[in-house]
């Protein structure tokens, strides 16, 4: 497909500006006046529409295809939330308006305040900040709150403990916040090794970061013992909310002993995810940490009006401009209100049921990483297929030709040839059955004709890119062919 710059023709345009009735150049200093033509594509409106419509057709999205990307919760985003975000009174708000006059933004402040209350109730925490703009941003905010807690108490803490099955962003966030990372291995049942953890926890332990259920899709039955152990040395326990979809309405991280949590609104609460985003990663804390949350915070006055409060001297400060990705928060707010308590519980029930169905249907064809009851996602290993020379990546490419997005592969890192499937609650039995049939076909083909796998995908504009070359020689110049 051509770049839009390659479709450019000199002098072509899709707009008409009225003639200016003032001398617009008069006040512009010479240094700021462009001396060369500005490199923009010159195209008609129809060129633009066709270009981007064609691009969007190439996009593989949850609106078009089954998308069981494990650990990413790529659930369908219901369209009513878009309507909520498009309400003019919200969509046209200027972010500086609250600084000018609070009375002009009462509705928006009320949304932020109530979202704080709703997320607190859902997760068992006491207070939330809506500011972090993504999950990893939430993690960093959370670890900075942990660091501020220890600093204010004069605690000498040096490290944070993280399981080897964790998302890579966990150690990255902890390291940026100034901690050393201590890795805890996974035991043979797929859980954090509790005996090893006991040996690693000491007075220098600032905290533990956990995904629960973990990245293998398994619930840790020792979770209360784990949080107790960390609290005994005045450490704090961080809940990575990536897998909250498995617990909604059934268990609350706050009740399990977690002190800090981030929630991925773009996963659990059905706002757009991936390249489409933007995301939002609100962070919740227990009361003892509330004074450390970023500013500003929305408060409710005695007369039931809402205001922004900046007066928290212990706060870790600003983590983002303004008040977070407001439109995203609004969509998630609409989603929570529409589903209600029973609806949210249905979400996790069906997410777990669907993943369990996948696991039961595929376990005769693929090795299971850890043969325990799974939660909202299940992890297989393609080691049986690898013995025939067919790797997880080959199976993934095969599925693309079947019109399905591949599951996550090669994560968690501790599972060889990992294939991690998360169907989410929004998939019907019929679409899951199609996926199961394709996976079984792949397993059978791996036995019969393993060499044939290298040709997939056959139906895509790009088949097998040279990944090493793509990583080493990046060309991002739009003008290269001009």
């Amino acid at each position: 497909m051509e770049l839009i710059f390659e479709k450019s023709a000199s002098g072509r345009k899709g707009f008409q500006l009225p003639k200016s009735d003032v001398d617009i150049q008069a006040d512009i200093p010479a240094a700021y006046i462009r001396k060369t033509e500005c490199l923009l594509p010159e195209v008609s409106e129809l060129d633009v529409v066709r270009h981007f419509t064609q691009l969007s057709k190439l996009n593989f999205s949850v609106d078009g295809n089954f998308y069981p990307l494990g650990s990413c919760t790529m659930k369908y985003n219901p369209k009513f939330t878009e309507q909520a975000a498009a309400i003019k009174g919200f969509a046209d708000l200027h972010p500086l308006l609250p600084q000018l006059d609070n009375s002009l933004v009462q509705g928006a402040l009320e949304v932020l305040y109530h979202m704080d209350r709703l997320l607190s109730e859902i997760t068992g925490m006491d207070d939330f900040t809506m500011q972090p703009l993504a999950g990893a941003h939430g993690e960093l905010t959370g670890v900075m709150i942990i660091a501020a807690y220890h600093r204010l108490k004069g605690n000498k803490k040096t490290h944070i403990i993280i399981p080897d099955s964790a998302h890579g962003t966990n150690p990255a966030s902890a390291a940026i916040a100034g901690y050393e990372i201590v890795t805890i291995p996974t035991d043979d049942k797929g859980a954090l090794d509790f005996q090893k953890l006991k040996g690693l926890v000491n007075t220098q332990t600032a905290g533990l970061m956990l995904t629960c259920p973990d990245t293998l899709g398994l619930f840790n039955p020792d979770i209360d013992k784990i949080t107790e152990l960390i609290h005994a040395v005045d450490g704090l326990v961080y809940y990575d909310g990536a897998n909250l979809n498995a617990l909604l309405g059934r268990a609350r991280p706050g009740d399990l002993g977690f002190d800090v949590i981030h929630v991925n609104l773009h996963k659990t609460f059905a706002t757009p995810h991936g390249g489409g985003g933007p995301g939002a990663g609100p962070v919740g804390v227990k009361r003892k940490l509330s004074h450390l949350l970023p500013i500003s915070r929305v408060v409710k006055n005695a007369d039931n009006t809402y205001a922004l409060n900046y007066n928290y001297p212990d706060s870790i400060g600003y983590v983002a401009s303004f008040y977070g990705n407001f439109g995203v928060i609004l969509k998630a707010y609409a989603y929570i209100l529409m589903l209600g308590k029973e609806g949210l519980r249905n979400v996790s029930d069906h997410a777990v049921l669907n993943a369990s169905y996948m696991m039961a249907k595929l376990k005769d064809y693929y090795q299971i990483a850890y043969d325990r009851r799974c939660m909202h996602e299940c992890v297989f290993s393609a080691m049986r297929q690898e013995a025939q020379g067919v790797h997880a990546v080959d199976i993934a490419k095969f599925l693309i030709d079947k019109g399905m997005h591949p599951p996550t592969i090669y994560f968690p890192l501790i599972v060889k040839e990992a294939i991690m499937i998360e169907p989410t609650e929004t998939e019907s039995k019929e679409s899951m059955d199609q996926f199961i049939a394709a996976m079984i076909e792949a397993a059978q083909l791996a036995e019969k004709d393993p060499k044939s796998f290298k040709q997939y995908p056959k139906t895509m504009p790009i088949t097998r890119p040279d990944e090493v070359k793509a990583a080493k020689e990046i060309h991002c110049n739009f003008f290269a062919k001009r």
Partner: protein
Amino acid sequence: MGNEEEYMYTKEHEWVCFEDNVAIVGIAEYAQSALGDITFVELPDVGEDVEQFERLASVESVKAASDIFAPISGKVLEINKKLDAAPELINKSCYDKGWIAKIEPSDLDEKGNLMNAEEYQQFLEGLDT
């Protein structure tokens, strides 16, 4: 470089061979194969002091990023600069042209913490069961 049979190995699949009291370090076939196509190698600095089993370098492949640990403590004498432009040398020749660093060992007794080729082979066989 010498004979792989004389190399020593770590549980993290690094190898080391000794030539005139200089330790040459790389990653073993098992690690190379598990990582898949390597796209980038972050090498240590020459002159850097490293500790046995602590981080020496890191590699990124199309699948993952992983740390490489020093099989022996000492000072980094030389690094394989060719890996900057051609990280795939590790995939193509992990025991020879894909070497990562040369270290001046500070304590040769640490060899006792490593496996010889035969022990490493047994270790590998234990992994896949």
